[in-house]
């Protein structure tokens, strides 16, 4: 199986190909540096993204709290993660970095502090 992709490690944006070899390793072509090669490998084997979203608060004046996944999470987990985040309702106050929940092994934290309103 192979994947064609554009590198995002630096602004050059090399067009790369990452392909599984018969021995199970991944061969990357088109990159100009090792960061690119690593990125391509990750995108093929285990693509991850940082998820950012908002969840409900109980405040009328500030109805949404921005949240984020602590680190990148598996890409195909994102839709179910978002579904859970949208169900959440957070009581104010919160502090930036507060862990609001752990969903599928991913920590969701508050992206800002919000006083009670």
């Amino acid at each position: 199986m192979k994947k064609e992709l554009t590198c995002i490690s630096c602004p050059i944006g090399c067009a790369m190909t990452a392909e599984y070899q018969t021995d199970g390793s991944v061969a990357v072509t088109g990159n100009q540096c090792s960061r690119g090669a690593q990125y391509a490998r990750d995108e093929l084997v285990d693509p991850r993204r940082v998820v950012t979203a908002t969840c409900r608060t109980e405040s009328l004046s500030h109805p949404r709290l921005p949240v984020r996944s602590k680190g990148p999470c598996p890409r195909d987990q994102i839709p179910s993660l978002l579904e859970e985040i949208y169900k959440m309702s957070v009581k104010l106050p919160v502090r930036l970095g507060d862990v609001l929940g752990v969903l599928g092994g991913v920590e969701i934290v508050a992206s800002r502090s919000m006083p009670p309103r």
Partner: protein, 479 residues
């Protein structure tokens, strides 16, 4: 609909004609109602036009529209004093750039003199450039009509309706006339949604839809042609802003593409004139918009596409003879048709109100002056017009004057709330009343704030808020 007695007069159409008629009639001891199919008044042709009070020289006195234009023009100072809508008698220039155009200038001048246009003068090239230094150097001469002016047309209609209601006129919006049946003494007018009103006399002032209303009453066919006019609005900082309204020499079907200094300080360029079929087609087109700049630059070379902040289109309801038709129906009784109100409809409107009142009187309707008639309406102070001390007292009395919601046009929360409380609960209605959203950022900054205020003031769910009524919802839902 207070009692079972029929209304004396039902006016259909709350554009400038209907609003004027309603206000005029509200000065008499009559039960009057005003209806409109839109959710707010002035949502038809009256909101998308040039905003010009014409100088009374464009049409021969043998046309009804010319006589009403002259009479209407003269009434604006008094109306402005009573109602307080933005209005300025800045004057009009008709610009000739070819020698054969000077002949037409002569004709217009003669017409203006015959009509009684106050202060009209024929101008040499030097006089034209003295009056307007930004004119194209190709100007050969022209006409100056100092009685011409500019107004904010939707504000004018809002004021007329507010005054009419203050004096007892009932307003029913979202009232689309479906049928009228006469029982020998009065009309039963039924709306599409089932509501009905009964009135002895009906005035059809439904603009583009006057033909459909007439049909609903089984009255004569009114063969209207929608004539589209497209406009550009230029930023208030444009160097191309003239001191007076600039006209080219008119063509066979239109007064031409103008350069108009609006009373709010922006510049309107347009309109074009193209007859179309679909009376609901208010789309702007690339071809017509291109034409506008070609023509406008002939008047003011400094007009630039880079100054455009938005464009829009309006439709004129045009009759074949290009004149107004204001008279009793020749087919059914007690129905007054007010049709074909294209330019100079805005200028003529106060006189149209008078004219219809006189038609009713001649038909035997008793017109007793209402002793309690109050010609004035409440003025809502505008933050942008207030100097610092005035602003301070406004904010002291109402802190919401201190919250600037629309920063491009300097509109405060207090004015938004006033608009909502006066019944303007759509984004466009608020825009026309306050100017919020009309500036250079075109609502980019104020929209979210206005939505919040609207939700708070009306309790409306945000998904129900519309841009201009019906299905024009702004949002689909909430997370």
């Amino acid at each position: 609909m207070r009692t079972n007695d029929p209304l004396d007069v039902l006016v259909i159409g709350a554009g400038v004609s209907g609003a004027s008629i309603a206000r005029k009639l509200s000065a008499y001891e009559l039960d009057v109602a005003l209806v409109d199919k839109e959710c707010d008044v002035s949502f038809g042709t009256s909101k998308s036009n040039s905003g010009i009070i014409h100088g009374g020289f464009h049409h021969s006195v043998r046309h009804l529209k010319a006589r009403l234009e002259i009479r209407g023009n003269a009434m604006f100072d008094q109306l402005h004093k009573e109602l307080g809508f933005p209005f300025r008698r800045c004057g009009i220039l008709v610009v000739a750039t070819h020698s054969d155009e000077m002949k037409v200038i002569g004709q217009l001048y003669a017409q203006g003199v015959e009509n009684g246009s106050v202060g009209i003068e024929m101008c040499s090239r030097e006089r034209m450039l003295e009056l307007e230094p930004k004119l194209s150097p190709d100007v050969l001469g022209g006409l100056h009509a100092p009685s011409g002016g500019i107004i904010e047309p939707y504000r004018f209609v809002f004021c007329l309706v507010e005054s009419a209601r203050r004096n007892g006129v009932q307003l029913h919006t979202d009232f689309k006339v479906a049928a009228g049946t006469f029982d020998g003494a009065s009309w039963l007018v039924r709306a599409e949604d089932g509501r009905s009103l009964r009135a002895r006399y009906v005035v059809n002032a439904a603009g583009l839809f006057a033909d459909e209303v007439s049909r609903a009453f089984q009255a004569e066919e009114i063969p209207l042609t929608p004539r589209k006019g497209e406009y550009f609005l230029l930023d208030r900082s444009t160097p191309a802003c003239p001191a007076r309204v600039l006209f080219p020499v008119p063509s066979h079907n239109s007064k031409g593409v103008l350069v108009i200094p609006t009373v709010e300080g922006t510049v309107l360029v347009g309109p074009t004139a193209k007859d179309i079929h679909d009376k609901t087609d208010l789309s702007t087109t690339a071809e017509e918009l291109e034409k506008i700049f070609d023509y406008a630059k002939r008047l003011v070379p400094r007009v630039s596409q880079g100054d455009v902040i938005t464009s829009f289109a309006g439709l004129r309801p045009v009759l074949k003879d290009e004149d107004f038709f204001i008279d009793f129906s020749s087919v059914v009784p007690q129905l007054i048709q007010v049709a074909g109100i294209q330019s100079p409809g805005l200028t003529a409107s106060p006189a149209v109100g008078e004219y219809v009142k006189d038609l009713l009187r001649k038909a035997g309707v008793a017109l007793t002056e209402k002793k309690t008639f109050d010609p004035f309406i409440e003025q809502v102070p505008r933050l942008r017009e207030a100097g610092p001390w005035e602003a301070e007292s406004l904010i002291q009395a109402d802190p919401r004057y201190g919250n600037v919601v629309c920063r491009c046009e300097k509109v405060s929360e207090a004015e938004i709330v006033a608009a909502i409380r006066k019944g303007h609960t759509t984004m466009d209605g608020i825009k026309y009343f306050t100017r919020a959203g009309m500036g250079r950022c075109q609502g980019g900054f104020c929209t979210s704030r206005i939505l919040k205020i609207l939700t708070r003031e009306t309790g409306m769910a945000p998904e129900r808020i519309t841009k201009k009524g019906r299905e024009s919802f702004l949002l689909r839902g909430r997370l």
